[in-house]
Symmetry: C2
Subunit: 260 residues, 2 copies
């Protein structure tokens, strides 16, 4: 059993020290701004159960629990190694104020039907589903590291599989938020069709003058509205320079991504 | 034969008087900022044949001819009443510097196969296709005017039909640009798939703090690249106030929409 002084892990502070994550030092996908931006898609006054699909070390779920005092959070992660980090994060003394509202399920969110329910992901149980699905960015092809590959290599059908599960797990009118690369916009909109409506697509740009590096999509289970393209979030004033005020507030857990 | 003093039409100046359009005074879809924004998606140094699908009175094609001195333009319009306006625009003395590079085809761009070729739209003949397809905005349901309805009421399959024709008409590596509502993003990306690559999606916002009102999509026939989300164009500094400098330059025909 790894200890809190496990030399293979780090303990990192987020939201200005409001929560801490135990993370693999090397190889595994490490949490960063993507997770904090995604968590900020949940309105601060949200109450109910938020499920973090593919939670990794738990960054998205912890950030939701830290921002939304009335939220309960279920972290769902299939990798036992990542789930071990999440479990140790829950046990970390610095998270004692949040731990009672965070639980962990080791399961594969891509399971279907009875197998998904049997794994512990009950139909119509969640008020919000969040996901930062694995993707393959070209850099990873040069770094043959098993854990990182598992976190980043996209199944071509990842959005179809994960959004089918999200639709099943959500209550009617439950909400979804995901963060992904702009390259995935087509598969995301296809997978939303017929399941979710009222999609809000927010581009995330590193700097205002360059194409978006990510997008956040939020949508409502069973709604009928057409997609909207929201005003973008710009992360940095200039390349490799400090955060914009809005990005800094999101990084600190002090701002919502959408105007709600 | 209507004359230039036809009381049912107006003659409107665009690009600070660089071209003029004869337009129906009432009822028909009248050209505006959408057409000028779309035309600005063509690089100023473009040379070759640009085809304006569903050209109406010709605003997009005229704007391309005015901006791109090496471009030839083919206006394609199925409504004889709209095509009559386009023909009179070509004949207007204020357009004499452009008229030799603009031609008109009365045809339905949604035709397929041999019927499309027989109508005059030859396969692999175009270097650029532009389209501002009809759409149904809610207001039109209350205004039962035939011409306006014809211009605005969307066929559910309009993007599939028009992009299939665009793919056929374009030369390999020929380019496409369209302007549409954000609500159509899913059908657009679906219709692009397998035909076009390297899509650049640019949101167009009336003001910076509100969701996009339009999007421009540009893509390359037969390319493989994934979609990009480009920095947005903001039209107005504040609601109902003057254009931003960039929008004013595009309105005047003096700026490109993309950084090329």
């Amino acid at each position: 059993m790894p200890s809190f002084t496990d030399p293979d892990t780090t303990i990192d502070a987020f939201h200005r020290g409001r929560f801490f994550l135990v993370q693999q030092k090397r190889g595994a996908h490490r949490a960063g701004m993507d997770a904090l931006v995604l968590a900020a898609a949940v309105p601060r006054d949200f109450s109910g159960l938020a499920v973090d699909f593919g939670a990794g070390a738990g960054a998205v779920g912890f950030a939701v629990a830290a921002r939304c005092r009335k939220a309960s959070v279920l972290l769902v992660e299939r990798s036992t190694e990542m789930a071990d980090c999440a479990e140790r994060s829950i046990a970390h003394p610095g998270n004692s104020a949040l731990a009672s509202r965070i639980s962990l399920l080791v399961a594969d969110v891509a399971l279907t039907g009875k197998a998904r329910a049997a794994s512990g992901l009950a139909d119509r149980s969640a008020d919000f589903v969040l996901m930062n699905p694995p993707f393959n960015d070209g850099r990873d092809r040069a770094t043959p590291d098993t854990l990182r590959r598992e976190a980043h290599v996209a199944d071509e059908n990842v959005f179809e599989d994960w959004l089918r599960s999200a639709a099943a797990v959500l209550k009617p009118r439950g909400r979804l938020a995901l963060i992904a690369r702009p390259a995935s916009l087509g598969p995301i909109l296809s997978a939303l069709a017929g399941r979710f409506g009222g999609a809000e697509v927010m581009p995330i740009h590193a700097t205002a003058d360059r194409p978006a590096i990510r997008l956040v999509v939020r949508a409502v289970r069973g709604a009928r509205g057409v997609p909207s393209l929201m005003p973008a979030l710009i992360l940095h004033e200039q390349a490799d320079k400090r955060f914009t005020p809005r990005a800094e507030a999101i990084n600190a857990g002090e701002a919502s991504l959408f105007m709600d």
